[in-house]
């Protein structure tokens, strides 16, 4: 850290650097450094910032926007939901608090603020139920509409409660009665103390949330909602949680605005407010919790500077708009993100050369064949003990039984009346020529797709029509043909997310618990990493992995929840000959004592791995048997070589 830089800015930098590596919650145990530095920064600021041209009012406004932005950052930066409607909750919380304090003459400012927070949270919940029905651009559009609706309602039909275009004047200053003295927070300086205190509280809470299992899962949802759901998490529930948290922060900040100004303005509800929040957060850097604060510093300072010092008048917003566009184009992760990237780049240089794995030797197909035969003769690796194995012994009979499974897409029949049964501990392969319907079949087994007719029974219970999430929780997981990883996180975090679902169920609001304190998690994660041979790469970001390593992680995600039944969809897809051999070895060691179903086209490798093979053709089961039987089966040969006889 450069100590010659202005101290306040310096402190903020340190906060960001330590708060999140790559925007996730996996910090080292010196977690409280962030909180301490934040406190230090907040205490030092009023002594330093005025010399840089910050007026007391500006500093107070920065804190309010910063707090407003913490919740928004959890929603946008961490969960990936870009909402343009936060002004609705900002205004709601502010108006409720102001109304209580002015019209109803409710005596206590702080509890009025909390009532405003609760009101905003409830409204957030109801709005979230509607808005979260869709994702992506629909979500963005709906939030814009929400912002406008709230503004209009506040301005017109409810104007007797909200003061319409006049707002609610006369919001009292908070009072703190300490017995021997009473403090009135009614000057800029005292208000600063009040606001800084609540900002600090809000930040501490946010840091806890972000370091909790919920926080980690939110990051997973941002990166890959499909996989987050497939490893057993109730994605919709968590999104709604993030939405409510953002609304609550917004509501409290809105109340603080009223208190700070002594007056609750109607423009809190304006769409401009939402827009300003979005821009500030993007400028500061989303996903850092401090980004909105930094963005507010830039925005409010520049708007002052541009208007008063440069006398640009109304053009200040134009300049800020241009700054915003330029940042979005060229500094994608905002100012804080840019600083972190720079830091990472410098730190990376030492690490990179040490840790890069040696590339696997390039093998020609002939060499591959020879190596494969040699490897196949090696003794099987010692079976790794399974951890937290689900109580397989409670149920006897086939672990999976599908009867009459059919899938139709309009007029096309992809799977037709398939009967399929796998015994516990069996290793089964599924093969078939193109168009056989293998992927569709797999998708039905994992409940990614509902069958048109038929039944699937897993460990004695009917899972037909259930969701992927539920089925994963019951112990059936899949590793995907195309890697579905949480690409913005480290290897360890990826496994943690998968393991969390098993240990906590599909939805739990343990917002204040540190993810490091979940009993059994570290064990489960280390065990899984060892199983897929990624223990020494655990702290690397996914982007830094070689393709073969990513494939192993892909399998690791499916393994992390100790499934009773593991489905592998083309685990060898796109692998070089050398990577193929490594993966076969790995799958053999994983396969010991575990029930697996594997689809792949690499016959040589597949037949090494499985005891029994099901052959599909044109949506039906053609034949089942041992690899040797299948190899010698004439019908199978014909299916592969072409079914067209010259007429």
């Amino acid at each position: 850290m450069d100590c010659s830089a202005p101290p306040a800015a310096n402190e903020l930098d340190a906060n960001e650097l330590d708060a999140n590596e790559n925007g996730d919650a996996m910090t080292r145990q010196r977690a409280f450094i962030v909180e301490l530095l934040t406190a230090a920064g907040l205490i030092a600021a009023p002594f330093i910032l005025p010399y840089l041209g910050f007026t007391p009012t500006t500093m107070n406004r920065i804190l309010v926007w910063g707090l407003f932005g913490i919740g928004f950052d959890i929603l946008f930066g961490f969960t990936g939901l870009l909402s343009f409607g936060q002004s609705a909750f900002f205004g709601t919380g502010g108006m409720v608090a102001a109304y209580l304090l002015t019209v109803v003459n409710y005596p206590n400012v702080v509890s009025a603020l909390f009532i405003g927070l609760i009101a905003a949270g409830i409204v957030g919940f109801l709005v979230g139920l509607i808005a979260l029905r869709r994702t992506g651009i629909y979500f963005a559009m709906i939030t814009v509409a929400i912002a406008e609706v709230f503004y209009f309602v506040e301005f017109n039909p409810l104007s007797e409660y909200t003061g319409g275009e006049n707002g609610l004047p006369g919001v009292p200053a908070p009072v703190l009665n300490l017995g021997f003295t009473t403090i009135h927070f009614n000057t800029d300086r005292t208000l600063y103390v009040f606001l800084a205190f609540w900002f600090f509280v809000g930040m501490v809470i946010a840091l806890r949330i972000v370091r909790s299992p919920v926080g980690v899962i939110l990051s997973a949802i941002r990166d890959n909602p499909l996989r987050a759901s497939a490893v057993g998490h109730n994605v919709h529930g968590y999104k709604l949680t993030a939405f409510v948290i953002a609304a609550a922060y917004a509501g409290f900040a809105g109340g603080l605005l009223g208190v700070m100004q002594g007056f609750m303005p109607p423009d809190a509800f304006m769409f401009d407010t939402s827009g300003q929040l979005v821009m500030q957060t993007a400028i500061g850097g989303a996903g850092t919790l401090f980004g909105p604060l930094v963005g507010a510093v830039v925005w409010l300072y520049l708007s002052d500077f541009l208007q008063t010092t440069l006398h640009l008048g109304a053009a200040w917003k134009l300049v800020l708009g241009l700054v915003f566009v330029l940042l979005v184009c060229f500094l994608r992760r905002g100012l804080v993100g840019g600083i972190k990237d720079l830091y990472a780049l410098i730190a990376e240089r030492g690490v990179k050369t040490r840790e890069a794995p040696g590339p696997l030797p390039a093998l020609t197909p002939e060499e591959e064949k020879v190596t494969r035969l040699a490897v196949a003769k090696e003794p099987a690796p010692a079976a790794m003990p399974a951890l937290h194995r689900k109580d397989d012994d409670a149920f006897s009979g086939p672990i999976l039984q599908a009867t009459g499974l059919t899938k139709r897409f309009g007029g096309l029949v992809a799977n037709s009346a398939i009967d399929f049964s796998v015994a516990r501990g069996e290793r089964r392969g599924i093969i078939g020529p193109n168009g056989a319907g293998k992927s569709t079949f797999f998708k039905m087994l994992t409940c990614e797709m509902a069958p048109s007719s038929g039944r699937i029974v897993f460990r004695g219970s009917d899972i037909t029509g259930k969701t992927v999430t539920d089925v994963c929780q019951l112990g059936l997981t899949k590793s995907y043909q195309v890697n579905q990883l949480f690409s913005g996180l480290t290897v360890r975090d990826n496994v943690i997310i998968a393991a969390l679902a098993e240990l906590r169920g599909k939805f739990r609001l343990d917002l204040f618990r540190s993810v490091h304190r979940i009993p059994g998690l570290a064990e489960q994660v280390e065990h899984t990493l060892a199983l897929v041979d990624l223990a020494d790469r655990a702290d690397r970001p996914v982007a830094a992995l070689a393709y073969g390593e990513k494939r192993r992680l892909e399998v690791g995600l499916a393994l992390a929840s100790s499934p009773s039944l593991l489905l592998l969809d083309e685990p060898l897809a796109g692998m070089s000959p050398a990577e193929r051999i490594e993966m076969v070895k790995l799958l053999k060691s994983i396969g010991q004592g575990r029930t697996m179903i594997i689809i792949d086209h690499d016959m040589d490798s597949l037949f090494e791995l499985v005891e029994r093979v099901t052959v599909l053709q044109e949506g039906r089961v053609l034949v089942e048997g041992t690899p040797a039987e299948i190899k010698g089966n004439k019908a199978v040969q014909e299916a592969y070589l072409g079914g067209v006889r010259a007429a």
Partner: protein, 232 residues
Amino acid sequence: MSLLEVEGLNSYYEDSHILFDVALNVERHEVVALLGRNGAGKSTTLKSLMGVVTPRTGSIRFDGQEIAGQKSHAIARAGMQLVHEDRRIFGSLNVEDNIILAGLTAPNRWPLERVYAMFPRLKERRGSRGTDLSGGEQQMLAIARALVREPKLLLLDEPFEGLAPVIVQNLLATCRKLADEGQTILVVEQNVSAAMMLADRAYIINNGHIIETHTAQALRDQPEVLHRHLGV
């Protein structure tokens, strides 16, 4: 000079290495088949030729011009056409519009009547929307779209997949006719017998590597070659 000369082609799907130093040639007026199991890289090869997938390294010389790395529309204008594996008919347009659209930027486009002469069934269905066509009709339309542009090289990606045997026979006859008229074709197929009825020569690809190449006659004489690489 061959019409198509491919050397050292390496293609990736994101960071998954699919094609390893693929090399092949296609001479004018010949029909070449690319045979291999699923996942061997057959489709990726055709897509790399057409620019739908951008190869990472390698050279593709088409009619004397280096086209590796160019955008699809430029490659199409150079005279190559790909009939995609999933046909990719414009469902919201009718049959005739699909054909007209295909020919818009082709210097020597086929007149509609010539297309309909080759595919009378399409003429019957000329006003039907793409989504209302059967699988066989869609395949015909996909091929017709490619032919309208009078491509120097026609790439067919699994043209017979998922079609009833009668339709396959029909399509096979049409392709045979095209080949006889001198159309250069590179066909990827898992249905080996159908492919061998068309092809003069075949490459065998496995796990992204070109393994062998044989003439059609040689493969007929030694069926165990196919069994070894394509069978189970």
